[in-house]
Each structure stands twice: as C-alpha cells, then as structure tokens.
C-alpha cells in the first residue's frame, strides 16, 4: 500500500527530470528543476536518508537553485512576456534545423534506450551485497558520536570529507579563475521594500539558530557540518539580497582565514594526531566527540563563507572584456 507513494514519487521525479530538459524555455527548465530537487528530497525521506534529504534541500535545491535563478538574469532576456513572439520564431527556426539532426538524434535515442535496458537489468539483478551496516554498528561506540552517518563522515571516512571541504574551496577558486568579477566598491542599494527587509532581518537569526541546532544535533541525529554550513551560507546570501554585503566588511586576510579555516584545522589536527599515533585523522576515542564537534563547527564556517563568496561573485560578474587590468 505504501508502495503507492514511492511509485508516484518515482514517476514524478522522472517526469520532472524529463520536462526540465525538454522545456522550451529556460525559466520553465529551472523551475521544474527546483521541483525535481524537492521530489528527490522526498525520495530521500522515503528511503530513510534524512541527512541526505536535508543536504539535498539545502544545497542542491536551495543553494544551486539560487545560483540558477541568478543565471537566468543573464540568459533569458527573451523570457519575458513581451518577447514571447521571438521565442516562437526561434522555435520554428530550430525546427528547420532539427531536420538535419534527425538521424543523429535517432541514433542517440536508440543508443540511450539500449543503454537504459542494460542499466535496468544490471540494477534489477544486483546481488545482495550486505553493505557495511554491521561494521559501522560495531565500531560506532569508538567513533565518539552516536549518529552513524556523522561517524562515517567525520571519523571513518574523514579523509573524503576533508577533501570535500577542499572541493568547496576549490569551487570558489575556480569561480575566481573564470574572471570578470568586480567587487562592489559601494554597497548595493538596500532593499527598497520594508517588508522584505523585515523578512530578511527575521530570518537571519532563524537561519543562524537552526544551523547551529543542526550542527549540534549532528552528533546524535541527522544534521552536521554541511547542512549547517549551507544554512549559514544562506545568511550571507540573504543579507546580500538585502543590500548588506557582509563579505565586503571583512578584510582580505580574515576572509581567506574564514575560507580555509575548516580545511586547514582539519588537516593540522590530523597531522597532530599522526605525529602522536600512526595515522592521519586518528582521533583518540576519548576526545573524538569533542574534536569532531570543533572540526564540524570550523568546517561549517568555512563552507558558509565559501558558498556566500561563490554566490556573491557570480552575482557580481560584470560584462567587460578581459583586458590587462581585469586580472587584478
């Protein structure tokens, strides 16, 4: 009976994925993509992956969603009502063009269909693997936290998590590398709408407190550094929208410190215990819980800083030719 929910959810997910790729207009695509993110989050809930659901909602639907929305600003000038005619003209143009593409398209569809059939068979016939639940359960008491997912993330596979924090920083560096970024000299015009201001001011502490709550609860339940980091990062984005560019208040060195804090502290702590013991990230079980909490807090700060910076930089990407001075 409850399988009905799953079937419906699966159909919804597939439909939304298809439509977000097939939609003729970009804004349709992006909104359907949000909906896809929400459907996926519900699917995680159904599969009992509450941590993943929070992460998905926060970063994949929320953060990425805002980034996509911001990108729409660049990409779809013809998306407004007045210019709909233009779209239809272009559609008919692309239809003409698509005739010559018929054969490759057909080949692609056939190839993908075949691939799908094999994939479905492979997934269907998968042997019972057993997983690592039992192993995780035995070692959980030694990990310093009670929540198995946090134990895996911050202790059993801390190395992956550390690299992942590095990847977020790297994402920011990569956005910098693309260029075209102008840092605001003066703050953008404050949100002219009193209601919006109030909402932003109201939600800032809510986001902060809820992020802190998720961070703290991470040791015993779903939550943790990434979710908290994204929520804190959302504060920066929200304030940016409200005309309060927090990041421009901090001096350069402090900004870099915040960005790298999580990564560096995580590593140095690992080196410290490597010098004392044998291996990187080998925490003494007695202090593991506390150390993990500290590492998570710093990681969340770094993630928040990086996400805010990624958004703010993308938002301020300016149209100007790359010239000799652009690389400052």
């Amino acid at each position: 009976m409850s399988i009905l929910i799953d079937i419906l959810l699966a159909i919804l997910g597939v439909y939304l994925a298809m439509q977000s790729l097939l939609a003729s207009r970009l804004s349709q695509s992006v909104f359907l993509f949000f909906a896809f993110g929400l459907a996926l989050a519900l699917a995680w809930v159904r599969l009992g992956a509450v941590d993943v659901a929070i992460t998905e909602a926060a970063i994949a639907a929320g953060f990425l969603g805002v980034l996509f929305l911001d990108a729409l600003r660049d990409f779809s000038p013809r998306d407004t009502e007045e210019q709909q005619n233009l779209t239809t003209v272009q559609n008919s143009l692309s239809r003409k063009e698509s005739k010559s593409l018929l054969l490759p398209r057909l080949a692609l569809v056939l190839g993908l269909g075949l691939f799908l059939l094999i994939a479905l068979e492979a997934v269907w016939k998968i042997p019972e693997g057993g997983g690592l639940t039992a192993a995780a359960e035995t070692l959980l008491p030694e990990s310093g936290v009670e929540h198995p997912v946090t134990a895996v993330l911050l202790n059993f596979r801390a190395y992956d998590t550390w690299l992942e924090i590095g990847v977020i920083l790297l994402g920011l560096l990569a956005v910098f590398a693309v260029g075209g970024i102008q840092i605001y000299r003066k703050p953008i015009a404050a949100a002219d709408d009193p209601l919006m201001r109030q909402v932003i001011l109201f939600f800032t502490p809510v986001l902060f407190l809820f992020g802190a709550f998720l961070l703290y609860i991470g040791k015993s339940g779903p939550g943790g550094a990434f979710q908290a980091g994204v929520l804190w990062g959302a504060i920066g984005i929200l304030l940016h929208f409200g005309g309060i560019p927090v990041y421009s208040w901090v001096p350069r060195w402090l900004g870099h410190l915040l960005l790298t804090l999580g990564l560096v502290f995580f590593l140095l702590l690992g080196f410290l215990f490597m010098a004392a013991g044998d291996n990187l990230f080998e925490y003494p079980p007695a202090y593991a819980g506390l150390l993990i909490l500290i590492v998570e807090t710093l990681a969340a700060i770094s993630i928040a800083a990086a996400l805010t910076a990624i958004f703010a930089n993308l938002n301020q990407m300016k149209k100007e030719q790359p010239n000799d001075t652009a690389q400052k």
């Binding site: 009976m1 949000f34 909906a35 986001l207 929200l238």
Partner: protein, 89 residues
C-alpha cells in the same frame, strides 16, 4: 491509521502533480513561481504526515530546511528579476 496517512500523502502528491499543469501553462514567470510555492507548502505537509507515519521526528528538521530555503528562493528570485529589469530599462 497508517493506511490513512498513506492516503493523505498520496493525495498531497497528486496535488503537486496537478500543480505542474500550471508550470506548464504559465503564462507568466510569476505563475511558475507561484507553483513552486505550491510545491514547497505541499512538500512540507507531506513531510509532516510522514513524520507521523514513520515516527521519525527528525523529518521536522527537513521541513524547516524546506521552509527557510523557500524564503531564500523567493527573495532571491524577486531581487534577481527586479535587478534585471532595472538593467534593461
């Protein structure tokens, strides 16, 4: 009781599916935005129901995450589109 919860969840999901029609028909961006709001509210309702059905109170945290991010998206969207209009004008 469980069966009832499932029926409610399925009903709410169908609600979302119906709402998709509006995303499809538009006609304005505002209409599409409106349906994302519909999705958001309905998903939160589904999460609440599932929290009772699965007896997993942590789902409430997921619901709060949905909440705050809905705010972020809406404010972001309006700001972004306003700025865009300001630029083109």
């Amino acid at each position: 009781m469980d069966v009832f919860f499932i029926i409610v969840s399925v009903f709410l999901l169908l609600n979302i599916v119906l709402g998709l029609v509006r995303v499809w028909r538009g006609p304005t961006v505002a209409d599409r935005l409106l349906t994302t709001q519909l999705f958001g509210t309905t998903s939160i309702a589904i999460l609440l129901v599932m929290a009772g059905y699965l007896e997993e109170l942590t789902l409430l945290n997921v619901a709060i995450t949905f909440n705050v991010l809905a705010v972020l998206l809406v404010i972001g969207l309006v700001q972004v589109w306003k700025k865009k209009k300001g630029e083109t004008r």
